[in-house]
Symmetry: C2
């Protein structure tokens, strides 16, 4: 463990040279290595270091938000990212980059380099994302959620895991403020939108008390329903893709919460992409349907085939009864999945609104073309977001979800 | 802080004599004091020590369950009881005994002596409980639940509080096993019932998969829904009463969970008392109705009149809109209260079943008179418990709850 200092390409190379297992992955000597910065997220510095034998991706926290240095931010966020990787890796296998090294003093993660992959958001905008990634994301959420839940683990283990991520206060505060609160506040300086064209829809949304009451319900679900360990920021910029190899990165927002949060956030980003690029509409719907069926399948498959030690579900004679299609267990599972879908719909609505008028907006809108098209895409996102939040409790199935988008 | 040893009357007196503030509460000198053991709970040793100026109640953990020394149990349970008292005392005032002293080495609590009060369960059995205590208990739960919730506190504070009680593993394990699991298991040695008369209803209950699926839903709600800090064991033996002075004791099971858990457990104990002593039926119904309306009133009054810093509810212009009877906020509150009632009904059902065939049964049944009357009372409790668990999701109001008991 080393004392904290923000690393440069040169000091990072020195650091790697002094750590034998990392040095061996790169091969040769420091003089043979190159480091280049690839940071394009909002918060942290990322370098790719390459050597004769291999390459590494190195991510370090800064004491502030990378894109806004006046906004101080605790360094420990990389520790939570590393703990998230450690907590889900057995369940999700190669769907996240391998973690090679964590330096808790430098707040530095060294992980598998995925620079032959593309960030999904960019691939979507360019129209180069291969079809079928939705299945991998659904599987990823199903496996991670199952493995960290009260159904897979005795509550003592869940409490211990939950306590670790309970301390992820700075990033959870960002979610609570930016996703769950700010966009609905008239007086919030962090909001921004295309004015004057969008002034009216924004004012309407900020005056809509019925909407705020429904948002309050989602605030409460996000904070008080601890179904499983969430990724916490699963948008299309947190996914890297190469053919059918789909990886989830950037778990620094990890916290316990309702499973529908991750699914809804991801789906919202697909919908917004298709609003910005209307010719994406059909594949967007296909990917969403695929994602939902893969999620259900992955979760259920674990539930039926794992000998669990979970407290929830301890009354099931699993192998025998879990499969019988018409048993009360099947009814119970479908109730559970409907609840996940309600959450998914509500959180998708929140994500669409905050990405359209909140602090952290998305590049997809720029792909919409001229100003009227951009406004049209954003207006649709606001309208759909609002509808999803208000109707979440009545959206049970993916077909019904797709009817609303 | 002292090294652990189980205290006797004599060694407790020596201990108190060496702690000036406690010595002063008793007055005079150790030679003037008397100590008598009053333990009648299942787990711990309790002494009342009296002196010329006053008296003290001293509660110490044993390394095992007091009524079953073969059952080892970590000592730290008194620490959780003390932390519970500290966490709710500002919100509930004199509804709990004052905490004078905690010795974390001896696992010893010294608190206000309530020996002029009576344990409510005994008073109910003897028919000496003054009417109206239900209002005090409803108020107590409303105030404690409000003050420890996401509506009153920013999530950072709730996480910190929740983490403390997340470590209350040994006693939460008892709840998960004895309340939420064991009674539904055919092979559980800790269950017991009057045989052969009750063999059939017990077998039915243990074979009822629809019931088990509904129990699973309650397991999940207890473990994963963290609305507020619960007392965790709020039965009629955890309440001491003297006229209209009603105190809640014995918070060692404290953990975050759904608010309806405490309310349901308490109400179940009132219902079982009335099944054992059918002439109590009318007042039992009155006390339950009172309890529910007082709970709602207490919770709502805090919500409307406290300037909160909570994240949930942050979008409300509280004073202005909170009160308008027909606003979306009123609709949202009634949805919230219906959900509390669903939980209340379900957990009341679990409590009735576990107190009738599980490990820790209740003295009220002995008051039923002859064997047939005892069996009749117990059969009613099983039938009502089962009905409440199965129908919980459709029980919205206290009137509907009372129709089912
Ligand atoms: N394992 C990796 N391999 C290659 N590039 C990566 C890897 N992880 C992140 N990146 C690149 O760095 C960028 C920022 O990473 P990210 O984890 O999203 O940072 P932030 O926390 O700042 O949002 C990503 O968009 C991607 O381009
Ligand atoms: N503050 C108190 N003042 C007087 N008596 C008390 C007090 N607290 C507990 N007791 C007595 O001790 C008994 C056991 O206490 P309790 O807290 O219920 O213990 P346990 O944790 O073993 O269930 C109570 O039933 C009551 O008779």
């Amino acid at each position: 463990m080393s004392a904290y200092r923000p690393l440069t390409a040169a000091s990072l190379i020195d650091y790697l040279a002094s750590h034998i297992p990392l040095k061996e992955r790169l091969g040769g000597n420091a003089a043979d290595w190159t480091a280049r910065e690839v940071s394009d997220g909002n918060l942290n510095t990322v370098f790719i270091v390459s050597g004769p034998a291999g390459s590494l991706c190195c991510k370090q926290s800064l004491p502030y938000v990378r894109v806004d240095p006046t906004w101080a931010m605790p360094l420990e966020r990389t520790l939570f990212e590393a703990r998230w990787m450690q907590s889900v890796s057995a369940a999700v296998g190669h769907q996240i980059p391998a973690l090679y090294h964590l330096d808790e003093g430098l707040f530095l993660i060294v992980m598998e380099n995925l620079d032959t992959h593309h960030v999904l958001r960019g691939a979507l905008i360019q129209g180069t994302a291969p079809a079928g990634f939705g299945a991998r994301i659904g599987e990823f959420v199903g496996h991670a959620a199952w493995a960290t839940s009260w159904r897979a683990l005795p509550f003592e283990d869940v409490h211990a895991l939950r306590d670790i991520f309970s301390r992820n206060l700075a990033l959870t505060r960002i979610t609570v403020d930016l996703v769950l609160t700010d966009p609905y506040r008239r007086d919030c300086q962090r909001n921004r939108w295309i004015s004057p064209e969008m002034d009216d829809p924004v004012a309407e949304l900020q005056d809509d008390i019925a909407l705020h009451a429904a948002v309050e319900r989602l605030q409460e679900r996000f904070l008080s329903v601890d179904q499983a360990l969430l990724h916490g920021d699963l948008h299309t910029g947190s996914v890297m893709i190469s053919g059918d190899d789909v990886r989830v990165i950037d778990g620094e927002f990890a916290v316990f919460g309702p499973i529908g949060f991750d699914l809804g956030m991801f789906i919202a980003n697909l919908v917004m992409n298709a609003y910005a690029q209307p010719d994406h509409d059909e594949w967007m719907r296909d990917e969403i349907a695929l994602l939902w069926s893969s999620f259900q399948h992955a979760y259920q498959e674990r539930e039926e085939n794992t000998d669990t030690r979970g407290d929830v579900g301890s009354l099931r004679a699993k192998k025998a009864e879990g499969r019988a299609g018409s048993s009360p267990w099947a009814a119970e599972r479908s109730r559970f999945m409907h609840q996940v879908m309600h959450d998914l719909a509500g959180f998708a609505g929140l994500e669409m609104i905050r990405r359209t008028i909140g602090f952290a907006q998305i590049a997809d809108y720029d792909a919409a073309g001229d100003r009227p098209s951009q406004i049209e895409a954003r207006r649709r996102a606001l309208a759909t977001g609002r509808r999803l939040i208000l109707k979440a409790g009545r959206i049970d199935t993916v077909a019904s979800l797709l009817d609303h988008v």
